[in-house]
Amino acid sequence: MELTVYDKYEAVIGLEVHAQLLTKSKIYSADSTEYGASPNTQISAITLAMPGTLPKLNNEVIDMAIKVGLALNCKITEVNEFARKHYFYADLPKGYQITQDKTPICTQGHIEIEVAGKKNNIGITRIHMEEDAGKNNHELDPFFSLVDLNRAGMPLIEIVSEPDIRSSDEAYSYLTELRKLLRYLDVCDGNMEEGSMRCDANISVRLKGSTTFGTRVEVKNMNSIRNVKRAIDGEFKRQIDLIESGQEVLQQTRGFNPADGSTAALRSKELANDYRYFPEPDLPPVIVKQKRVDSVKSLMPPLPSELVEKFTSELELSAYDAGVLTDEKDIALYYLDLISKTKNYKAAANWIMGEVKSYLNQNAIEIKDFILTPNHIFSIIELVDKGIVSSSGAKRLFEAMIEQPTVSASDLAAQLNLVQNSDTDQLKSWAEAALQKYPEKVLEYQGGKKGILGLFMGEVMKISGGQADPKSTNKILQELLNS
């Protein structure tokens, strides 16, 4: 492949991810966080920044932030101060955001990503807690801008990566892994389209082999992981084109345009706000003792990496199977539930990755809405393992079960004539019938063409209407032919 000018460069990328936490109430007030309420219905005096109000910290936020920190291998900060970040905007009622500045609750973590089979650790600089702003709307009314403050005060954590990311593919994997973790931990729904997870990318380029950083550009407004990748690709090229044509990359904030994948300048550094951070005097520092960290840890669900380890080493599944089964938390939980009932781990994995997943895909439903429980699947596996139903019969049974989930697997198998017959006398009479039908073939077999056995098997199945237990039939046929 021919090398282009772009191949001389590498991207240096750091990502800032805002994740809206799934708490019941806001971070500094008791207002509901429920999504989709009518504008300005979840706004108490505190959210409105009425004169005299004070923030009231929601402790759930601390525990959720600790969870994420632990999952990302971070150090948890003991003395957590809050800080005020000042700027004027109509969606920011207090004129400042209560956030954390010098003492983020989590620091020095990392997350493992994988691109084209190559694994890599991306550093996590910090995670801090803060409040969201409201939403401005400039379209609904022809004369006025409208402000909805329902979102103001929603709890956020901001997860800041080290500038360790070198390509848009790595960024894609980072965000996918991070979102998976947030969902596993039940702290964020990870929905970028609805804005409950948002990502800003800091991008610079440099010649490969260089150890200094280029001028950094921040890109905002990407509403999907795919668009983050597109924005990075576009920005990478734009910066190289500038440098190659002898121009300068300006330090600025740019907005992403999803229509064509381009970015456009929002503001330059000279116009940047002086946020005048200082410690929030209304909230005493929150002291997080090791005991609290331990108790949060003890309540954490298993993480995908831990499950992959368990599935591959304890259950002896392939790395591929383990990956598929842990990709979504609910699938993994379904599998865990299933293998608490059966020791046939491989069959359980095959059922979920095969029939179950394809049914979910075809019908576009989530596993949590799937009508069959792990118990159902277990009952099918059990019938197969006992030789009562054949594997092809099991697939028919699965389909029938979806229609009649309240009927037991064995009753359903009987109804559908899927119960294999292993009664020796019955099998023997079917086998004899099959052999009588092809006397010349019997001779050929006895003459050494052992492959013909399959023909007799097929005939037995035909006569028995699929009920003959293949293992026993095979044995009986051989006995008859060899006698």
Partner: protein
């Protein structure tokens, strides 16, 4: 007309049927009318106070008076919010602002049978020491109306002094309860930081602000404190330390160890009448068996600058919410968001408030933060350590509440620094977070009140009040 000077005297007459709440409220309403020139009230809640009085009288008829403060007629500083009532901090920028909730202290007062008679004038957003920065005009000192009543709780002090209500609530960020109490000859307590919930107090300097009572008697101060003090879920800085039954300790008699600052009392810049009042108090206390010793505070000169750096920094942040968007004054001719902010704030805030917003913004700005804000934080810590050290070996620190007696209206205008230096003795308690009280100890030759201040260790209000009661009862 005689007015009640203690709640127990009033309650005695109420319970024995000699008077009614309605009568008492009416007497105060009449007196307010007669003393409009003092300009203590921005608004008198005439109808709701009378209705409330009737409601309480109903409880009397049924012989079931409810509440520790039953019948107390109290005024509130205009920076403490009361649901469905206007609340402006004496600022144009909160013109027409009606609160949608009540401050914790208001809820607690009402739950204990108090009658809120109106909202009291003060310096705009509690920024001032003479009550001359109010959008609603200055308050006048009842002892001589050509003089200032002090500030920022000037209306709260003047109203009590002039018998326009029995007691009042003020707020104290750097002396705003104690200094006007001294100027008006009444008692004012700034509690320990965190003792009284700040929820519903419009913030000025969040790490300094405290609401406190102002009254004629230590007993009333104690009884109001028993009601308003204590932990509040809505104020994370409020303390869960148990609230003492202050009023039950008032009869305690004891001899104490008292420190005074040599620099503060034996200083020629202090008004001679105040100096001699202080000396006399020192001698009196000694003769009563107290140990009274001079201590020195090298950092005295740093107290006022430290206070102004930090309090204005916090104020510049706290006042960001007054932006003309959601409530209060909005400039009518503003075209867009930026000009809404600029015009509303330029037109809505008075000069002194703008001065402090700008100072505070400056000390928090990139490049200046370390030189001012950070340094002031460190000095605050040093002053706190030194003060707490003194208070670990002495029960109280004594010093005049103010270096000068009340001055004439308008005499300090145009010299903010001179005005700020008047806070020299009061801001220490706010920087350190300890309680401070001002009690009246006499008058100047011109007949203007003189106040003395006692500070004590955190949460020692019980001891402080019983000691002050001992002094005032002779």
């Amino acid at each position: 007309m005689a007015f009640y000077r203690t709640l127990s005297a009033l309650q005695g007459d109420l319970f024995s049927g000699k008077t009614t709440c309605k009568q008492v409220v009416q007497d105060y309403l009449d007196n307010i009318d007669r003393n409009k020139s003092i300009n203590a009230f921005i608004e008198v809640f005439k109808d709701s106070a009378l209705a409330r009085a009737e409601e309480l009288d109903g409880q009397l008829i049924n012989r079931q008076p409810q509440g520790k403060l039953f019948g107390l007629v109290i005024g509130i500083k205009d920076n403490i919010v009361y649901k469905s009532h206007l609340s402006t901090s004496s600022s144009k920028i909160l013109t027409g602002h009606r609160s949608i909730y009540s401050a914790t202290v208001i809820d607690r007062l009402i739950a204990e049978g108090a009658i809120i008679i109106g909202r009291l004038n003060c310096d705009e957003f509690a920024m001032g020491s003479s009550n001359e920065t109010s959008y609603y005009g200055p308050v006048r000192n009842p002892h001589n109306q050509e003089y200032v009543p002090g500030g920022s709780s000037g209306g709260s002090a003047a109203a009590v002094a002039a018998d326009l209500c029995m007691a009042s609530l003020g707020s104290d960020t750097g002396g705003s309860i104690r200094q006007p109490a001294a100027f008006c000859g009444i008692i004012g307590l700034k509690p320990t930081y965190g003792r009284v919930s700040r929820y519903g107090l419009m913030a000025y300097g969040s790490s300094f602000d405290q609401i406190g009572p102002m009254a004629h008697s230590v007993e009333d101060i104690a009884r109001i404190m028993e009601v308003i003090a204590g932990a509040d879920d809505y104020d994370a800085t409020s303390s869960s330390v148990k609230v003492e039954k202050y009023s039950e300790r008032l009869q305690e008699k004891s001899t104490y160890k008292i420190a005074y600052y040599k620099e503060a009392i034996e200083n020629s810049n202090i008004h001679p009448d105040i100096r001699s009042a202080a000396m006399k108090l020192v001698e009196d206390l000694k003769s009563q068996g107290c140990v009274v010793e001079p201590v020195s505070l090298k950092e005295l000169d740093y107290i006022v600058p430290t206070y102004y750096v930090l309090s204005t920094a916090e104020a510049s942040s706290n006042f960001s919410r007054y932006d003309g968007v959601r409530y209060g004054y909005r400039a009518e001719d503003a075209g867009d968001l930026d000009s809404t902010y600029k015009k509303s704030r330029s037109e809505g805030f008075g000069k002194e408030v703008q001065r402090r917003i700008m100072s505070g913004t400056f000390v928090l700005s990139a490049g200046y933060y370390d030189a001012y804000y950070s340094k002031a934080q460190k000095v605050r810590r040093i002053i706190a350590d030194k003060t707490n050290e003194v208070l670990s070996s002495y029960d109280f620190i004594l010093c005049p509440t103010t270096p000068t007696p009340p001055y004439k209206l308008g005499s300090h205008q145009g010299d903010p620094i001179a005005m700020y230096l008047g806070d020299i003795f009061t801001v220490q308690a706010n920087l350190v977070g300890v309680p401070g009280i001002s009690i009246p100890v006499g008058k100047t030759e011109e007949g203007l009140p003189i106040g003395m201040q006692f500070m004590t260790a955190k949460f020692q209000e019980g001891k402080l009040l019983s000691f002050c009661n001992q002094i005032l009862k002779g």
